[in-house]
Structures are given as structure tokens and as C-alpha cells.
């Protein structure tokens, strides 16, 4: 067995026999299903209007009643006087109320709440439709065909989104994938801190240096162990997110048509991507805590990586879509995972991502290798 593998075996034992690391490696991926199910339910509740009760201070005619009925009884309407409505609202028995003064309708809603915001949208549309009905009636009374007035232009929506895609599914899948990159970074931060500075602090590093090993073999073993733990953690993340996505698909209205590009090719490319990201982040973590003498010192140095882990999220929020993004390490990781699951695979972009990751990993590895030949990194 090569010395790198023997060294790797030693480091893996250190990681997987430490309850603290095991909890990090296992706990981090479990946040993804919690996030998916939590956010999924939240979006679904935002989309689904239910049990909203409002008050009005006038009697509805048949046309307006019909319009409310078309909403499937999701909005309950009560009719009371202005003072009574105010009291009902203050007692939180109704979510809002509408006061009519001649032909002027005023909506009293708290738009800082989700219900108020939803009602504002629904009632505006309702009164717009009611206004159109009244307008059409007026035109008919004056012998004018309503279509001649209301049908001057016609607007149709030709859906361009792929089947099963909408803003919410894209958002939830995209953030789950970015979170996988964050898992890699957090796992690398913790394992590297312990394997590099922790070993020095525990006094076992001197023992390691007495073995017939080259510095490259020592780093190789450590890097391999860090990458292994990152891959295990992120793959657990992949396997826990799929059931969570299926759960929201089966239990929510918003995500019922969700389609995931899960096939052998995307799975293989995902694993390759996670390995490449893990290698880069792992060697970056070793580089950062290389000269740290104590665990605390290493932790503070490696904390820089927590900002790095946010890069994919920022680029996603900023909706950066330039091809240059595929050449920016780590940011390209989140992007490529997004591409794999949310659009078709672009092999040129995948190659750009892979090459960039390999080059940066190699350059850092050469630097770290030199760093470890210097005694300042050892003692």
C-alpha cells in the first residue's frame, strides 16, 4: 500500500472516530431536506389562498357575488357597518375590509403581512374584473358590443419554461445545490483544522514526521482524507435532498409538476463536480491553516472559507450568467450544479469548470507542498 493511502487510512480513522466530526458530516446534509421541506411548504402556503375572511360595508350585487364564488369559496365575505368592520378587524376576526363610498372602493389591508399582501393582489384583480363587468353592461345598454371596446388588443401567454419549472422550483433546487457546495466548504474547514493544526496541538505531528514519509505523502494523505469526508458529506446531502424534493412534489400544489433532471449522466457529473470542488476547497483549507500552530489559530485563518462558501449564493442571487463565471473557482461549482439540474448540460462550460478547478488545485498543491518543506509550517 502506498504511503499516501496508509496516511489517508490513519486520517480517516481520526475523522470517523471523532463524534464531533461525525456529527458535522452527518448533520450538515440533514439541513438540506429540512430546508427543502420548510421552504417548499412556505412557498406553497404563499401560493395557496385559504380561509381568508374580509368585510365589506355594502350589499354585493349578483355579478360581484358570482366573482367571489368563482374563487371557490377561498375568501369569505361578511357585510357589516363601517364601525363594526373596524371592530372586527381590530379583534382580528377579519383580515381586512373594503369601504364603499359612492363609486369609490377603499381597501383597508395590512400589506406587511402575507395574508394582507395576498388579499391586496386578489381584491385588486377582483375589482378590476367587476369594473369590466359593469363597463360591459353599460356598453350593452348603449348598444355597443363590449368586444369592440375590450377586445381591441388580445394578450396571450406562450409558456417558455420547461415542463415542471417555475420560479419556486428553480429557487428551491438551485439553493439546495448551492448548499451542497457549502457543505463541502464547512466539512473541509473542520477536517483540515483538525488534521493540520489539531495534529500539531495534540503532539502527534512530530511522530508523523519521524516516519519514512515525504512531505508530499503527508499532505497527500491529509488532502485525500479531507476530500473523502467532503464527498461523503455532500453525497449524503444529494441522497437526502432527493426524498425531500419528492416529498414536496407529492404533498404540495406548487411543486406537483416539478421535474428533476435526475439520470445516470447527471449523477455521474454531479459526483465529478463534487470531487473537483472538494479537492480545490480541501487544498485551500490546508493552505490556509498550514502555518497555524494551534487549533484556534487555524480556525480563525480558515474562517475565510466561510465567505468563500457564500460566493455561489451571491452569484445566484445576482443572476450572473456570464460564461466568465465558469472560470471563477468555487463560484463555478454552484453554477455547474445548477446547470446540471435546471437546464441542459453544456459540455464546454463543464470543461471550463473542471479545468479551472484542476489548475487552481494543482497550483495550490505545489505551493502547499513547498510550504510543508519549510520548518515554520512544521513547528
Amino acid at each position: 500500500m502506498s504511503n499516501v493511502l496508509i496516511s489517508w487510512k490513519k486520517e480517516i480513522r481520526a475523522i470517523f472516530r471523532d463524534k464531533k466530526f461525525l456529527s458535522i458530516i452527518l448533520f450538515m446534509p440533514l439541513i438540506i431536506p429540512a430546508f427543502i421541506i420548510g421552504m417548499g411548504s412556505l412557498y406553497d402556503s404563499l401560493n395557496e389562498v385559504q380561509d381568508l375572511k374580509i368585510g365589506i360595508n355594502y350589499q354585493m350585487d349578483e355579478d360581484e357575488k358570482q366573482l367571489f364564488d368563482q374563487m371557490g369559496g377561498k375568501i369569505e365575505v361578511i357585510t357589516k357597518s363601517e364601525d363594526e368592520l373596524k371592530e372586527e378587524y381590530n379583534n382580528k376576526n377579519i383580515k381586512g375590509y373594503v369601504l364603499k363610498d359612492n363609486n369609490n372602493y377603499t381597501l383597508y389591508l395590512d400589506t406587511s403581512s402575507t395574508d394582507g399582501m395576498t388579499l391586496s393582489e386578489i381584491l385588486r384583480r377582483h375589482y378590476e374584473s367587476y369594473n369590466n363587468i359593469l363597463g360591459a353592461k353599460y356598453l350593452v345598454e348603449h348598444n355597443i358590443e363590449p368586444k369592440e371596446v375590450f377586445g381591441i388588443i388580445n394578450v396571450d401567454l406562450e409558456e417558455q419554461a420547461e415542463e415542471g419549472r417555475n420560479f419556486f422550483t428553480n429557487y428551491i433546487i438551485s439553493f439546495s445545490l448551492i448548499y451542497l457546495v457549502m457543505i463541502v466548504v464547512v466539512t473541509a474547514m473542520n477536517t483540515s483544522t483538525d488534521l493540520i493544526a489539531g495534529e500539531k496541538e495534540r503532539g502527534t505531528f512530530e511522530t508523523l514526521l519521524t516516519f519514512p514519509l515525504t512531505s508530499n505523502e503527508i499532505i497527500g494523505g491529509k488532502l485525500l482524507a479531507i476530500v473523502t469526508s467532503c464527498i461523503i458529506s455532500s453525497i449524503i446531502g444529494v441522497f437526502t435532498s432527493v426524498p425531500a424534493l419528492l416529498f414536496i412534489k407529492n404533498h404540495t400544489e406548487t411543486f406537483k409538476d416539478m421535474v428533476l433532471n435526475v439520470n445516470p449522466l447527471t449523477v455521474i457529473l454531479t459526483i465529478i463536480s463534487l470531487i473537483l470542488i472538494s479537492c480545490l476547497v480541501g487544498v485551500l483549507a490546508i493552505f490556509l491553516c498550514g502555518r497555524a500552530k494551534t487549533f484556534k489559530e487555524a480556525q480563525s485563518k480558515v474562517s475565510f472559507l466561510s465567505f468563500v462558501s457564500l460566493i455561489p449564493m451571491f452569484t445566484n442571487l445576482a443572476n450572473v450568467s456570464s460564461d466568465i463565471l465558469y472560470f471563477i473557482p468555487i463560484a463555478n461549482g454552484g453554477q455547474i450544479l445548477n446547470d446540471l439540474y435546471l437546464s441542459s448540460i453544456n459540455y464546454t462550460n463543464f470543461l471550463s469548470f473542471a479545468l479551472t478547478s484542476v489548475i487552481f488545485t494543482f497550483v495550490l498543491l505545489v505551493y502547499v507542498s513547498k510550504q510543508y518543506k519549510d520548518e515554520k509550517a512544521l513547528f
Binding site: 504511503n3 490513519k10 511522530t207
Partner: protein
């Protein structure tokens, strides 16, 4: 034979004015260690013992001078030399998450000991140090005495020709110290060359064939304990040391 020639090791430190200055931890140190010989390296804290032993063990590199072990030097044969020696320090800790068996197997793997040979040797070591009861327990669960035995046991797996002990008995009770001292005597009989560093002068007097007294990175005396006592006209190595450093003792 281990040949240490004119070793100089410098470290950079900040002085009172926070300017970088160079301090010589070891200054022109030379001596030899033959097979079947125990050479004691004696001196107070900061004398340069640990630095020198780390250089001999290949953990550090000297600024000047050379280390030759059986006509091989670190520049050309680093890994071969490391296979010939074993380093045990009082500061060195063991991998607490491993069991003694796993630790010894790992050492055997690193030193490329043949599988069958490693298995036989590990069995012998387990018997020799009475480790049967705890050989599969994690090291973190062992007592200090048991851990000390495991520490010595892992040094034996590759059957080294030379041992380097750096303050190996420091902080240990008399029973644990005796295990190490008995081990040194036994390995000496087996023809192994041993460098033994300590600041317990009495200990060195008992087990060392020759001693090298160090102070502030320099050799201040070499010879058998008897020779040094005779030269300094003292009864023990502690007094001999103070006699040799003279005015320096107040610093």
C-alpha cells in the same frame, strides 16, 4: 554508527525592540554513537537537546554540519535513514483514536515491514510489554503507564538499529520511567545504539556509557560519567554540570 559533525542550527526570534535576530540553538556540535552504546545528552531546558535530536531524527534540517548514519546522509538517503531509527519524545503523543494494534500495524505499513514479519513482531511486542488485555482498546482509554508501553512498542515494530529518546521519562512516575529505562538497558544488550536526552542527571549516570553535557547550544564536556566526575572533581553529574558552567549558572 551515527556521526554528528559540526551541527549548527539557528532560529529567528524577535528581540526587545521587535527586530529579527538569529539565535543559535546548537553551535558546532559533534559526537558519535556506536552500536551497543548509550550516549546521554544532558543539559538544562533550552540547552539545544531537543533541536539536536530533531535534526538527528530528520525532522529538522541543520544550517550547517552533517548527520551520517551507517555512512548514509539525509540529503541522499532520508527515507532509508528514517527506517533505521526510532524517535521517542516526552512531548510526542500517540494517536488516541487508534488501538495499540492499529498503531503498530500502521507503523509496520509505513516502515514497509513484510506482512508476516510484522504480524510475528507485533505478537512478540504485545507479549513483551504485557499488552494482551488492552491491545484492541483505543489508546485514549488507556492509563498513563499503558500508554507509555504503547509508545515504546510502536518504536520497536520496524526493529530499528538506533533509538533517539528525548526527555522520554519527563513527567512520568517512577514505575513508568523504569519501563523505559529497563527497555533501554535491554536494547543496549541487543546491540542497538541509543541517544538518550534528559535533564535528570542521576538517571543518565545510571544508564549512559558516555555523556555529552550541553549548555546554551554548546558542548561543554564529553566522556564517561566517571571521567567527567574525575575531571570536575565532583560526586555527581549535577555538581559536575554546575562546576563546568561556572558563572553562567546565575543566568
Amino acid at each position: 554508527m551515527i556521526e554528528i559533525k559540526n551541527i549548527v542550527k539557528e532560529f529567528e526570534k524577535l528581540d526587545e525592540n521587535k527586530k529579527k535576530i538569529k539565535i543559535k540553538a546548537d553551535n558546532d556540535i559533534s559526537f558519535e554513537v556506536k552500536e551497543g552504546e548509550v550516549v546521554g545528552l544532558l543539559g538544562p531546558n533550552g540547552a539545544g537537546k531537543t533541536t539536536l535530536l530533531r535534526i538527528i531524527a530528520g525532522i529538522m534540517k541543520p544550517n550547517k554540519g552533517s548527520i551520517t548514519i551507517d555512512d548514509k546522509n539525509y540529503k541522499k538517503n532520508e527515507l532509508e535513514i528514517k527506517k533505521m531509527i526510532s524517535f521517542l519524545s516526552g512531548n510526542t503523543k500517540l494517536y488516541k483514536e487508534l488501538s495499540p494494534m492499529e498503531l503498530m500495524q500502521m507503523c509496520a505499513d509505513f516502515y514497509k515491514v513484510d506482512k508476516k514479519e510484522a504480524s510475528n513482531r507485533i505478537d512478540d511486542i504485545v507479549k513483551r510489554f504485557s499488552m494482551q488485555k488492552f491491545k484492541n482498546q483505543r489508546i485514549e482509554t488507556l492509563s498513563t503507564g499503558q500508554t507509555q508501553r504503547v509508545g515504546i512498542a510502536r518504536c520497536l515494530v520496524h526493529n530499528p538499529k538506533y533509538y533517539i529518546f528525548d526527555e522520554a521519562t519527563s513527567g512520568l512516575d517512577i514505575i513508568s520511567s523504569k519501563v523505559i529505562l529497563d527497555f533501554i538497558k535491554e536494547e543496549k544488550k541487543n546491540g542497538k545504539g541509543i541517544i538518550y536526552s534528559t535533564h535528570y542527571m542521576e538517571e543518565a549516570e545510571n544508564i549512559c556509557d558516555r555523556v555529552i553535557l550541553l549548555n546554551k547550544g554548546r558542548v561543554i564536556a564529553t566522556g564517561t560519567p566517571k571521567q567527567i566526575l574525575k575531571e570536575t572533581n565532583t560526586d555527581n553529574l549535577r555538581d559536575a554540570f554546575f562546576a563546568l558552567i561556572g558563572d553562567d549558572k546565575n543566568e
